[in-house]
Symmetry: C2
Subunit: 218 residues, 2 copies
DNA sequence: CTGGATCCACACAGATACTG
DNA sequence: CAGTATCTGTGTGGATCCAG
């Protein structure tokens, strides 16, 4: 958001004036996963110049999308959190991520994945299973990055990190092999990932198929 | 799309590298209404510098979102048209427009509305009527700007300009008074617009109510 | 007239160093 | 930890000019 406007009385133009600048929607993407500290945002966006991050946060705050909160002592930590209006950007970020994931090829040199970006990617590909699958629990692993998801019906939760103990029984562990692409594009299959069961369940190819049905593009 | 990347293997980041630069999504917005010539795009985006428009079009073309076509003689006109991948940005533009429309206040000085922006705004607020309303036809007028829409069930068409002759019977004319805001935000009522029937129908407040139900935010 | 290209001034992004 | 300060380069805005 700058002094420069598009001069159009239009929702799209107004939205771009609020979140159209470089890095803004990526900051929102990470905040959609949960409130974060300044340092956490830097960790999730390693290539953002620190002055740009500071500027964006001020702009998003004065636009009413982000709230800067100082935690009570003793922590005294500064936390950035989306306001309700900021949270409503989820549909935008998900639509954008769905569209952009289609042109994700292989990992390019210097390119990284982050837990938060994976969380939003998974949220963007969710298709509620038709019926009778009950509650599903997945733990996704790619290298050091681990996220977990549970879903039943319309309700989906995806969060960074492994399941807190005790892990839900019936949880299926999905490990992406060699490439994240299939996970982000929904083109997952046995050659690209494997499912291993934990906690009283033996995972099978059928589990991976179900996963690929629930999380897919379009 | 520049040489600058976000360095993230993420659909959102990739999307922003493709259409995240200034003016890009507004060009896409106008092209979603239909193929356009260079001059038409300039007319719809009066404040875009001509070199920026030319640059964006090249970028969008090399990204595979836009196709530049030269019409056969005698016209020989240059036309820019969205590719299928570019057309898939409609969900993104609609989501962005819905979100941004909520912070549209009154028309600001120097701000204009265009037929294309109104067309996309109306598309973004469509809620298919539950049942039994049959086919609805509206002609919307605000100052010089006229667009028309028909809808029945899931199918919606909104296009710039008045209905071609002969106008559909039962068409309702909705005239925004003094302000476009209610049209774009769905907060329309009798104080802000009026419905007048044409072609064998006498429009009533009920017609305006139905309109406000079919086209509204969230 | 359409469909741009060229030029310049400047605001903003990127990179790095520094600070309460 | 949470930023600020400073410098540099590039993208953007604005105006003008040009070829078919």
């Amino acid at each position: 958001m700058t002094t420069k406007t598009y001069g159009q009385y239009c929702g799209v133009a107004r939205a771009l004036e609020l979140v159209g600048e470089r890095w803004a929607l990526l900051i929102v993407r990470d905040l959609l996963v949960g409130p974060k500290r300044y340092t956490d945002l830097r960790a999730g966006l390693p290539k953002i110049p620190t002055n740009v991050l500071a500027t964006r946060l001020k702009e998003l705050e004065s636009a009413g999308l982000v709230e800067r909160r100082v935690q009570p002592r003793p922590s005294g930590a500064v936390v950035y959190e989306l306001t309700p209006y900021g949270l409503d950007l989820e549909s935008v970020v998900l639509a954008l991520g769905r569209w952009g994931a289609r042109s994700l090829g292989e990992l390019r040199p210097g390119e990284i994945a982050t837990p938060d970006s994976l969380v939003m990617a998974l949220r963007s590909t969710y298709h509620p299973p038709k019926r009778g699958t009950g509650k599903l629990a997945y733990e996704l692993r790619f290298g050091d990055i681990v996220i977990h998801a549970t879903c039943s019906g319309q309700t989906l939760t995806v969060e960074p990190g492994p399941f807190p103990e005790p892990a839900p029984s019936g949880m299926v562990v999905v490990e992406a092999m060699a490439s994240l692409t299939p996970l982000l594009t929904g083109a997952i299959d046995g050659a690209k990932a494997r499912a291993s069961g934990i906690v009283g369940k033996q995972a099978s190819a059928a589990d991976l198929d179900l996963f690929a049905t629930v999380f897919r593009i379009e």
